[in-house]
């Protein structure tokens, strides 16, 4: 399967964040790349950089990536100050070099948030997201207990709207893009996905309280409704789900017998002031 590379060719200046480990200080380093095809994906461009660094005796740049088709949520790069780069609704792995121009300087940084500590170079620790899901982002149904699937009808519009939230890939771009490093869009996506479905109904109130409580304990910032998260979200999850989260939270806190559990929270609320 040998092919000649098609597309135009770019020369680029990269400024890449290098950091040995969490305990060390990081710094930007400048690299020059020549002959980058506009057909390449952004991560393929980084592959070329790494092959070049290897030849020069410098350690390659570590970055998280896996599926390279925009769905696993592994890739996590700030590109010229934008989470996942300049294209809307696009992960860094689906960003292509035709989006850049010859001679351009590209600054590449890891997600920057207190709750996402840097592990090395461009790799950060996003386990806080897993802990938020552990707090309540599920339906408590044991394997084997499920009723016949068609026994509970779900209106098509409800299912579609629930899926609009469930498409979140958990990449953390919403946190990285937010000036407060808030995780509201991530939490809202899961709360909104399950709150809209009849299957999520029994735990509707306890879920939102527990997830928001965990979000606060992980030291994500509060939401100030700037909507940067929606603009950065590669899955195009809308901030209307944050509105639903706030409504669910208020209902759970003040409108149900579960309100006492609200005292488990360590901070004053779900943000959205």
């Amino acid at each position: 399967m040998s092919h000649t590379t098609t597309g135009k060719s770019l020369n680029l200046n990269l400024r890449v964040w290098r950091q040995k480990d969490n305990a060390s200080r990081g710094e930007f380093r400048d690299y020059k790349l020549a002959g980058i095809s506009t057909e390449m994906s952004f991560l393929e461009m980084l592959d070329i950089l790494n092959e070049q660094l290897l030849k020069q005796g410098e350690e390659p740049v570590n970055f998280d990536h896996d599926c390279r088709e925009g769905i696993c949520g592994s890739c996590s790069l700030m590109i010229n100050g934008q989470a996942h780069g300049p294209d809307n609704g696009t992960t860094a792995c689906q960003l292509h070099m035709r989006r850049f121009y010859d001679g351009q300087t590209i600054v590449i940084e890891p997600w920057r948030a207190k709750a996402f500590p840097v592990i090395r170079d461009l790799v950060v620790d996003r386990s806080a997201f897993d802990r938020i899901i552990q707090a309540g982002g599920y339906v408590s149904v044991r394997t084997g207990q499920a009723p016949e699937a068609n026994s509970v009808p779900v209106p098509k519009n409800t299912q579609e709207s629930s899926l609009d939230a469930a498409v979140c890939i958990g990449c953390g771009a919403c946190v990285a893009a937010c000036k407060n490093a808030s995780a509201m869009l991530f939490v809202a996506a899961k709360v909104s996905h399950l709150a809209q479905l009849p299957q999520g109904e029994p735990e509707r109130a306890s879920r939102v309280l527990a997830m928001v409580g965990q979000m606060d304990r992980e030291e994500f910032g509060n939401c100030t409704n700037t909507s940067e998260c929606e603009a950065a979200c590669p899955a195009e999850v809308s901030v209307t789900h944050i509105a639903r989260l706030n409504r669910e939270y208020a209902k759970a806190l003040y409108g149900s017998p579960l309100s006492l559990e609200g005292q488990l929270l360590t901070s004053s609320g779900a943000g959205g002031d």
């Binding site: 597309g7 095809s37 592959d47 290897l54 599926c67 390279r68 689906q94 299912q159």
Partner: protein
Amino acid sequence: MSFDSSTLLNSRVPSGPVEQKWDNLKRDIKLIAPNSKKKFEIIVVGTGLAGAAAAASLGELGYKVKAFCFQDSPRRAHSIAAQGGINAAKNYQNDGDSVWRLFTDTVKGGDFRARESNVYRLAQLSENIIDQCVAQGVPFAREYGGTLANRTFGGTQVSRTFYSRGQTGQQLLLGAYQALMRQVSAGQVEMYARREMLDLVTVDGVARGIVARNLTTGKIESHAAHAVLLCTGGYGNVFYLSTNAKGCNVTAAWRAHKRGAFFANPCYTQIHPTCIPVTGDHQSKLTLMSESLRNDGRVWVPKQAGDARAPGQIPEAERDYFLERRYPAYGNMVPRDVASRAAKERCDASYGVGDSKLAVYLDFGQAIREQGEAAIRGKYGNLFHMYKKITDENPYQVPMRIYPAVHYTMGGLWVDYHLESTIPGMFVLGEANFSDHGANRLGASALMQGLADGYFVAPYTVGHHLATRKLPEVTDAHPRFREVAEEARMRLQRLLSIDGKRSVTSYHQELGHIMWDNCGMSRNAAGLQSAITKIAALREDFWRNVNVPGVGENLNQSLELGGRVADFLEFGELMCRDALTREESAGGHFREEHQSADNEAQRDDENFAHVAAWEHLGENVTQKRHIEPLKFEACPLQVRNYK
């Protein structure tokens, strides 16, 4: 030619007619009392559909589970990328579907090289899977009345595929991941993310744990247990370019093979017909366009070889809808192996399109004219979006260009009906085993198998292992753990100390070329023999001249890749050897020497209606080929015909 069936391969298929085998097994297995379950530790490696489902279900039952994944979160396992859907014999469409029909479709689709009893169980369990996922809150597509919707996939004449837009795998995996997170929260499962299994530890011939590397700190860790479940996916990345995620690898399966697990049918590889074509040597992976697109897309090439006109300029009469022409009964919905070979045949005969001429058109023009753009967007919007991102072409206006690419591997570690490997106490689930898809997997069946194995099979059969085997107390202080950990450490050290001139990726790419050229969509004896020689030479060069920079004591992605490619360099040779020995064409395994006058695959049921399972005999010794004969009693052998 004849092969003796091996006494080492006892498939433990329960007695009785195929419809009753699973019930008979459930009737006969031994159970463990609720209060005793907490005394047993179970390791689950991999957190895709099979692994996450198994870990969650076993945790719920009360076992102490440790789950491992190399990604930063279990939610990122590659099941997430499955697009089209999941099959189940619900017969919601009243179109004649049944468990029996899903069973026979799958046996036939696999070209009669799967174990009948396993396939029947899979078809039976398919119904429970849909119930389970809906109860978890998986937002499957619905009709306006609120009931579940279906679509059609290849190799079937019914609509039995459940889906969530073009991201079914993501929604199913999130369901399983959330069930797993619930068990982590309940203290039933301990989650080890960013860990890579480096080896299996056996004590007195029984699987008793693993050695894993903490990818953040580099520390080699030992974990003891009473059972080990490998749910580590397929080996498609032996080709370098595939639709698999970059991290998918054969290491866990290969290391287990070298500790005694037989490797079955490694030559069965699925080449998916509809992927975005390669654009250059920089290409790092290939992207699938879901098979579901063939419901509405029509595949064609120009009738005139080398026709360089834009597709819109080629009139209808000058287009060759070659799948509809060759296979009128199934048309564009023929199984994947058949569609891939037909596309390759057209391109090899100079009818290919696009810059590389290694592509055919997948055209939605007619569907958009008949149904409107909004309807097509509703069904495939995210796939069209992805296509546009990658190619910079708008598939609502011009036909997609597609070409076959490596997608899935039907071969895998040999397992019996309990999903237990030839190493007692080690179970293999999902794509990592060989058992259900024969020589070709039908679309929307991988998700079904992963979840069936994880939710509904392993919880029964693993319990039986724990209840019936004497398992002496073994902790990670056992000398076998120290030995195996030391071997793993030495291996990493060796990789780091070579300090050669070539990058790991360059070796991986070269291996991929050898595999694709000689063990890809079509294979012949001379090519396979030359590949075996070339791979051996490449492997030798790798261990002399590879450059793995950095140290072992921190996050080092070069080192991770180095270990994985080293194992692919051993595994690729076995794959070619298996392809060489299987002197017939079956499903995804097409031997040029064995085809009919009209270029269809020709099976040899007399000599090859069996599973080939390879036994590791030592370093640099050719593996021994064992066979498990396959009997087709419920679904009699027939020539596959989609015409």
